[in-house]
């Protein structure tokens, strides 16, 4: 690959980047020690939720190029699955994690299995339908508590430690975001990741190169589902109560917007995007009705004028410089040693 040699960074650059990332994590981890406003902690915790969701959705949209418009449904599968097992069947919350992962995989296979064989726009509309089905179901079943949802979700306990404070969940979610970032970063540089990017850039060419495109698309879709479901589990524990309104179409749209603003395929971009979709509406609280309007305008403008997002994946940045092309998919699949993407 031509791009690889040009884009490879020197060892010094790489060491500095690592130092920077570690420093940033330590700084964020130290924030609660300065006794900030509890409001700040709760906003930050929700920002981590969106960052985690964005990192998961990035695999689907950013890497494999599949549009998932019902991503919040998997978030709901995790939150409801764990909450029902923990409240109705009295499982310890942590023990529900394997069950939740299994549910997410099954749901992902049911939706993705048939749809991913078709043109990618069918996935968008089917996932949209799936998101609706999930919310309607949660709203109408007895076991999900109907419109009021589920209360008194027990706290997570790790090795005998009960996580009761909001700050505890700040740390748990921060840890998950870091873990998700590392996993997706490693995945991106693996055989699977290369296959995803090949599919995103040109599915027919990928198929001609012997990549089983359907299988890799299912990996991306199911992987994203598992990521979202685990975030959902922790979200339920952090909030202690869940209701269907937290898992609707607007939430799925927010996840897409986070991926889009950040820059499809870029890991630091997901952190920026996840932060923005939580922080901007908080800042504009008295303009709540304008929130989705604003995001709609942003989506159209980003796609027309800056499809690579605010913090582009480096493969795109380098490739853009090489070819002068403006759009990610117009450029040849030049994949650099992109530490940050």
């Amino acid at each position: 690959m031509i791009g690889q040699n040009i884009a490879r960074k020197g060892p010094d650059v790489r060491r500095y980047s690592w130092a920077g990332i570690l420093l940033a994590i330590v700084a964020v981890a130290l924030v609660p020690h300065f006794d900030p406003d509890p409001y700040l902690i709760s906003v930050a915790t929700l920002a981590f939720v969106y960052m985690g969701l964005a990192l998961g959705l990035n695999m689907v949209v950013g890497y494999a190029g599949l549009l998932d418009l019902g991503y919040a449904a998997f978030f709901a599968v995790g939150a409801y699955g764990s909450a029902i097992l923990a409240t109705t069947y009295h499982w310890p919350l942590l023990a529900t994690a394997p069950a939740v992962v299994l549910m997410a995989i099954v749901a992902g296979l049911i939706i993705g299995g048939p749809t991913l064989r078709l043109r990618s726009d069918y996935l968008a509309i089917v996932t949209l339908g799936f998101g609706e089905i999930t919310q309607i179901t949660a709203n109408n079943l007895q076991i999900t508590g109907g419109a009021t949802g589920i209360f008194d979700i027990p706290p997570l306990s790790l090795f005998g430690w009960q996580l009761l404070q909001p700050v505890d969940y700040y740390y748990v979610l921060l840890g998950m975001v870091v873990l998700y970032a590392i996993i997706t970063w490693r995945l991106r540089r693996s055989k699977i990741g290369r296959a995803w990017l090949a599919i995103r850039e040109d599915e027919d060419a990928a198929l001609a190169m012997g990549i089983n495109t359907v299988r890799y698309k299912i990996y991306a879709y199911v992987g994203g589902a598992v990521f979202a479901s685990l975030i959902g589990l922790v979200y339920g524990a952090a909030m202690t109560a869940i209701a269907p309104t937290s898992f609707g179409y607007p939430e799925s749209v927010l996840c897409i917007v986070a991926v889009l603003i950040g820059g499809m395929g870029s890991i630091p971009g997901m952190l920026v995007g996840g932060f923005l979709v939580e922080a901007v509406p908080e800042a504009l609280r008295n303009l709540a009705d304008f929130r989705l309007l604003l995001f709609g305008v942003v989506m159209v403008l980003v796609m027309i004028f800056r499809p690579q997002g605010v913090w582009p994946a480096q493969s795109m940045r380098w490739a853009k410089r090489l070819t002068g092309a403006a759009r990610p998919a117009d450029v040849p699949a030049a994949q650099g040693e992109d530490l940050g993407s």
Partner: protein, 301 residues
Amino acid sequence: MTFLTGQIIAGLLVGAFYAMIALGYSMVYGIIRLINFAHGDLYMVGAFVGFSLFGVAGAVSRNGMLVAAGIVVLVMCLVGILGVAIERVAYRPLRRAPLLSVMITALGMSLILENGVLVTPGWGSLYLVYPVGLSSQGLTILGYQLTLGQLELAIIAIVLMAALYLFVQLTMTGKAMRAIAIDKDASALMGINVDIVIAITFFMGAALAGIAGVMGGMYYGQINYLMGFDLGLKAFTAAVLGGIGNIPGAVLGGFLLGVLESIGGGYLGSEWASVFSFSILILLLVVRPTGILGEKLGARM
């Protein structure tokens, strides 16, 4: 048995709306291979524009049918122009861009329409009672109580859809649309002005959605800024059911989905009707993704 007949007739009425919206999806998809997510919201915008115009004109019973017809035509033109504007601003710059970018733009347009209506003074988020209702004079078909107004709506829908079909089959512009659907570049080489024909397609689809919106407002009696979302999704299902890109298919799919949903909802409870429709969509994509009348279409493009 009467229950079943009743559900089928109710389903056919709702199916007429599905069919009208499905036509717009299908035409746009046929010509530029785009699922226009904003299309369902054009139906909603049509309902709201009609709401305001009827409000300005006052009660129609005093002004007569002519005013009502004038308002409906005006709504069709306004929503049609809106559809063309959306195509011009949001889709045309991305015509050569990857599918993902265009779909995201379409999604953004849908959000802009929904939330634009939400923040417009006088419209807002509450359910609004539609100023015009339907003639409530009753008549009985196969033992099912039906109002004259409902029957009128169904007839208007069928006439419009037939007119559209004839337009696409018989006129020069219709022929150009069909040519572009087959090969856009070759059509341009044959001297067809592709941009204008695409704009006309958007105008016709949007105008049809607009009048469907007014009819939907009359039929349901109330409107809301999110009414287009669910309906758009179902209309898309209808379009796929009949075979997307195919005009008679969209109509057939609309009526069929309306009936299936009505029967399914009748037995499972109406809150499950939507779940039933979406399950049909997912099942259909497994069994026969080309739909009932769909031609063999490439799995991917």
